[in-house]
């Protein structure tokens, strides 16, 4: 597999380079898969294709970060249950043990006719099949008063790593009796229970270190995932600390003033000490640049996660319009395996099996008190459809809640091994 380093951006030479024979003719040489995005979807897909094809397929993984900090479980770091290093994972094993060509760069464009991916560093990577798993980006202007330049003053912490550490530092620096505010996102967004686990974990940390502090949430949604379970827990452990303002009290008209550190909920202005703004989301930008999005997300065929716009491009995880599946790391990992099986079959005639998907979301409400929701999914009538699942119940005993939490630890260890080897 060749990265063409002769190509530099923005020169007239680009047109000449496109004519150069960089792509091996079909049927000659090893088929190539390029994966953009090294998270739960992309890393899993790269590993499974490399592992199961036994060298028959060249796999390149393009991922800008050298250490991937999972957004899942980052709330547990906020609560004090994890160190930041517990969340970090590197790509050395994918390279060494599985022969994945790990390229730390940004994909900045896709030429679907030439079947190449352009890199910010200046190369072009050819593909036979392209898998995009770029996660999410934020919708400009969705929270009036906030843009990406505000993310230091008012972190989103909805991409793992530096933002997570920043939010934790701000939490720790709050004055006694101060206010932690959250602007919760509208549907659909990454990790439906995520903001509410975050509220629980922040409340836990505050109850230990700053018990007179308050949490104020502006939420444009009337309902949220596992609501009865979270509210039971908040009442049990953090009574009086959390106030959630919903759409019935004007939460859809919320704006922020980054300089003044205030939030305005339908005309009612509050001073806040920390403000976690979680804006509306859309597919990671490379999906839009590749031309596979329709509105904010990339529609896919449920049988194999292939893009409805291009049969040689697949979209996994949060960036996809994924039917009934929630946007979660577990879902991305599940979709990646269906995709990997289909891509291998398309390139090497290996056996292809019918798509089966599943998801489970675990949330930690307080120490040793974990809850979960999950379901199975199958293709039906053009979309990934929910065929039934389970959810924790209110009133469960402490032993079951502890077992549920411990299960989530087992899952984290399992999924990160599944992604990174």
């Amino acid at each position: 597999m060749t990265i063409d380093r002769r190509l530099f951006i923005g020169t007239g030479a680009a047109a000449a380079m496109l004519a150069a024979p960089m792509v091996r003719a079909a049927g000659h040489g090893t088929p190539r898969v390029v994966v953009v995005g090294g998270g739960a979807g992309g890393a899993t897909a790269a590993r499974y294709i490399a592992k199961d094809s036994d060298g028959a397929i060249d796999v390149t993984l393009i991922e800008p970060t050298r250490t991937y900090f999972t957004c899942f479980f980052s709330n547990l770091y906020l609560g004090g249950f994890k160190e930041i290093d517990d969340l970090g994972h590197t790509y050395g094993k994918l390279a060494a043990d599985y022969g994945v060509n790990v390229v730390h760069d940004w994909a900045i464009g896709v030429d679907r006719d030439a079947k190449t991916v352009a890199l910010a560093g200046g190369g072009r990577v050819p593909y036979d099949k392209l898998i995009l798993s770029p996660g999410i980006d934020f919708v400009d202007g969705s929270v009036p008063g906030w843009d990406l330049s505000s993310q230091n003053a008012m972190p989103h912490a909805y991409k793992g790593g530096s933002q997570t550490e920043l939010l934790k530092a701000q939490l720790q620096a709050m004055p006694q009796g101060g206010t932690f505010a959250m602007i919760a996102p509208p549907n659909p967004y990454r990790c439906p229970p995520g903001p509410y686990e975050r509220i629980s974990m922040v409340a836990y940390w505050l109850s230990q270190n700053n018990p007179t502090a308050k949490i104020l949430v502006s939420d444009p949604k009337p309902k949220f995932s596992k609501q009865a379970l979270f509210e039971e827990g908040w009442e049990k452990y953090y009574s009086g600390m959390i106030e959630r303002v919903g759409p019935d009290f004007g939460a859809e008209n919320t704006s922020v003033d980054v300089g003044a550190m205030t939030i305005d909920i339908d005309g009612s202005v509050e001073n806040v000490d920390v403000c976690n703004v979680i804006p509306a989301m859309k597919a990671g930008r490379i999906a839009e640049l590749a031309g596979v999005t329709d509105g904010n997300w990339a529609p896919v065929n449920p049988e194999d996660m292939s893009s409805k716009a291009d049969p040689d491009i697949y979209v996994l995880g949060d960036a996809s319009q994924q039917g009934d599946m929630p946007k979660s790391g577990y879902s991305a990992n599940s979709q990646a395996k269906v995709c990997a099986n289909a891509v291998r079959g398309a390139l090497t005639d290996s056996r292809v099996f019918p798509a089966k998907f599943s998801n489970t979301c675990w949330s930690l409400i307080s120490e040793n008190d974990g809850v979960k929701v999950g379901a199975n999914y199958e293709p039906a009538d053009g979309k990934i459809s929910n065929t039934g699942g389970f959810i924790s119940q209110t009133g469960e005993d402490a032993a079951l809640r502890q077992a549920t939490y411990e299960e989530s630890e087992g899952w984290y260890s399992g999924i990160t091994s599944d992604m990174f080897g």
Partner: protein
């Protein structure tokens, strides 16, 4: 449990597999919308819907009967709700066949849909106006799972380890392939018979665990055998 070898039928490709390999949706929401005209005289649904002669039908899936605030239900319906009638696809199917039979004394004067596929279509139409499982993962299903016992295309040799390997990818997110045991038990190198016994116990709900009941519930005998063969024969 593990019987004699059976004929191997290979699924050649995604689109070669018969439609029975896919889950069934409840019905056709487009036709359901047409049929709903029989309801719309009394019931509103969708954006801006409000109570009329009958209560609005937004968010009905997963809701206890007779719980819309501000609507004056008949005593019959209030009793039904208090006794635990909760609306899911199955209950709506029974109700829409003959409302007065499920809730005698209801004021709803509608004879019902005799044709089960018409009921399914209306149910599919209404499903669109309740929580989407992509936003609220615990929301009601939108399709019925494949009945694997009727999918001959995925019959495999008992102990088809290659099929087991594909199926195992669902397991190995939680059950570590290296056999580690951290909050989730190890399933590697089990004797095949023990593996099959355990999985069938989860499938038949003789052994209770919501995640495993769900996962085993949608695997048939051949798939469990395939997984047993795969996990039993892992090389270090």
């Amino acid at each position: 449990m593990i019987g004699s070898a059976r004929i191997l039928a290979i699924a050649i490709g995604m689109f070669g597999a018969a439609q029975s390999s896919f889950a069934e949706t409840f019905g056709d929401p487009e036709n359901g919308k047409v049929l709903y005209q029989l309801c719309s005289g009394c019931h509103a649904v969708g954006e801006g819907a409000r109570n009329k002669v009958g209560p609005l039908l937004n968010g009905i899936f997963g809701r206890t009967a007779a719980t819309i605030e501000g609507f004056r239900y008949s005593n019959a319906f209030k009793r039904a709700g208090a006794k635990g009638l909760e609306w899911h696809a199955e209950e709506l199917d029974v109700f829409l066949e003959n409302p007065k039979q499920l809730v005698p004394g209801t004021r709803m004067s509608f004879r019902g849909f005799d044709d089960p596929s018409e009921r399914a279509d209306v149910i599919a139409y209404l499903r669109q106006y309740s929580d989407s499982p992509s936003d609220i993962p615990e929301a009601d299903p939108t399709a019925t799972a494949t009945d694997h016992d009727l999918s001959p295309e995925i019959l495999a040799l008992v102990g088809d380890a290659e099929y087991g390997e594909y199926l195992s990818s669902e397991c190995t997110t939680c059950h570590r392939i290296d056999g580690a045991d951290e909050g989730i038990p190890s399933i590697t190198l089990w004797p095949e018979q023990d593996f099959v016994v355990a999985m069938h116990a989860y499938k038949d709900k003789r052994r209770a665990h919501p995640v495993m009941n769900m996962i085993a519930g949608r695997l048939n005998e051949e798939e469990i055998a395939a997984l047993a063969a795969y996990f039993a024969n892992l090389e270090d």
